[in-house]
């Protein structure tokens, strides 16, 4: 069978849902100068992050897709950032695990829920004015209130239904055959804003999207309708605990302006902007918890 025939029989399947993995290290700093190096590992249902914090300041991180087991995902996430800065596990004073797989991080000294970690991470990323946090994760959605120190005062989580989660957006991305990073900008490229798809369920939203395409909607209109539905869904969740000024969004969907702008429009407030990757909030919070614990214990890395 020649290559052309093989391609026709089994064409290569593009995975439009694949989001960008990335690793970053602050080149202006040297972790060897730090007294306390802590690490936060967030093993989520879709993505895993490892964040290194030096003396309470973000130093580096690695964000990648979660594999088929939590311990390996945690190891790979941490290895990615350690390789980039020449660090070894024994150079890290304290490791905190968080996320769904937090109890399966083999080298973690402590496990803390992702709710507390996201609040702490958002407090660092958005400053002490952050009061309401919306975390749009891969397979769940959380609404959190916190005080000026990033301590949780009220939370609500929905992990039973995939509506309003990153997975829902991945499904639409594959269905429309549009890279996931382009969905947000393309959702604004419509003559007039369509109504939200009526189904809150990801499975039925997919069926409805197909029906809309058959009815003559452009792909951009379908994406806009889905982004609007997702925004309405998470806003209804947020309204259960109320929204205070100092609104911050974490998780992968915070990178999708199509959803973020629509949430802002529905709530009538603007989300606080940050230059830090929104996906690392949980791991960053975990690393900061580790730093606080170390400070309390008075432990410092030997010079």
């Amino acid at each position: 069978m020649n290559a052309q025939v093989a391609e026709a029989v089994a064409p290569e399947k593009k995975e439009f849902w694949r989001w960008q993995e990335n690793t970053w290290v602050d080149e202006s700093k040297d972790w060897r100068d730090a007294k306390i190096v802590t690490c936060g590992i967030d093993v989520g249902s879709v993505s895993s992050q490892a964040v290194i914090v030096c003396d309470g300041e973000l130093y580096g991180y690695n964000s990648m897709r979660t594999g088929n087991n939590s311990p390996d995902s945690a190891k790979n996430a941490l290895q990615g950032v350690m390789d980039k800065c020449g660090m070894k596990l024994e150079d890290i004073t304290y490791v905190v695990g968080t996320g769904y797989g937090r109890v399966n991080v083999p080298f973690a000294h402590k496990a803390i829920t992702e709710i507390a970690c996201h609040a702490r991470g958002a407090n660092y990323m958005g400053g002490n004015k952050v009061r309401t946090i919306l975390d749009m994760g891969g397979q769940d959605c959380k609404a959190i209130h916190c005080d000026e120190k990033g301590k949780v005062t009220n939370f609500l989580m929905n992990d039973k239904c995939a509506a309003g989660t990153g997975r829902g957006m991945e499904v639409i991305s594959d269905l429309m055959q549009i890279p996931i990073g382009e969905l947000g900008p393309r959702s604004f490229d419509v003559r007039e804003e369509p109504e939200a798809v009526s189904s809150v369920c990801v499975v039925f939203a997919k069926s409805e999207a197909l029906a809309l395409l058959k009815a003559g909607y452009t792909k951009n209109m379908v994406i806009a309708a889905y982004c609007q539905a997702m925004a309405e869904r998470v806003v209804s969740l947020l309204e259960r605990i109320g929204v205070e000024e100092g609104f911050f969004i974490t998780g992968g969907i915070a990178k999708n302006p199509g959803v973020v702008k629509r949430i802002e429009r529905l709530l009538g407030i603007q989300a606080i902007d940050t230059q830090i990757d929104s996906q690392i909030a949980g791991a960053l919070g975990a690393a900061l918890f580790g730093y606080t614990l170390m400070q309390k214990q008075g432990a410092a890395k030997a010079a």
Binding site: N154, F155, M157, C161, V200, C201, S236
Partner: protein
């Protein structure tokens, strides 16, 4: 802290809220643990090192069904858990 355990699905909102500030020094002797016929409550040490009640993980996604027998249609005039919680830390959203 108000901890909301439960979910929202196509049929409605099903959350049990626990006000942990009222729960920490429970004046009712943790009566929720025995009041719930389904034994859905447990005591945990939360992220801020406080000992508080929470809903067991196994029940968090099925509250509409697990609590159905304690609702008025099940013959109860008031919920056993909220009645037992004299500090008023417990609330049902539905």
């Amino acid at each position: 802290m108000i901890a909301n355990y439960g979910y929202k699905d196509g049929s409605g909102d099903y959350y049990i809220s626990i006000d942990t500030d009222r729960c920490i020094d429970c004046a009712a002797g943790r009566a929720c643990l025995t009041a719930c016929p389904k034994e859905m409550f447990e005591i945990i040490t939360d992220d801020y090192d406080d000992e508080v009640a929470c809903i067991k993980q196994a029940n968090r996604r099925s509250l509409a069904y697990d609590c159905a027998d304690c609702k008025p249609s099940g013959g109860y005039a008031s919920l056993p858990c909220t009645t037992a919680c004299t500090p008023g830390a417990l609330k049902h959203s539905w």
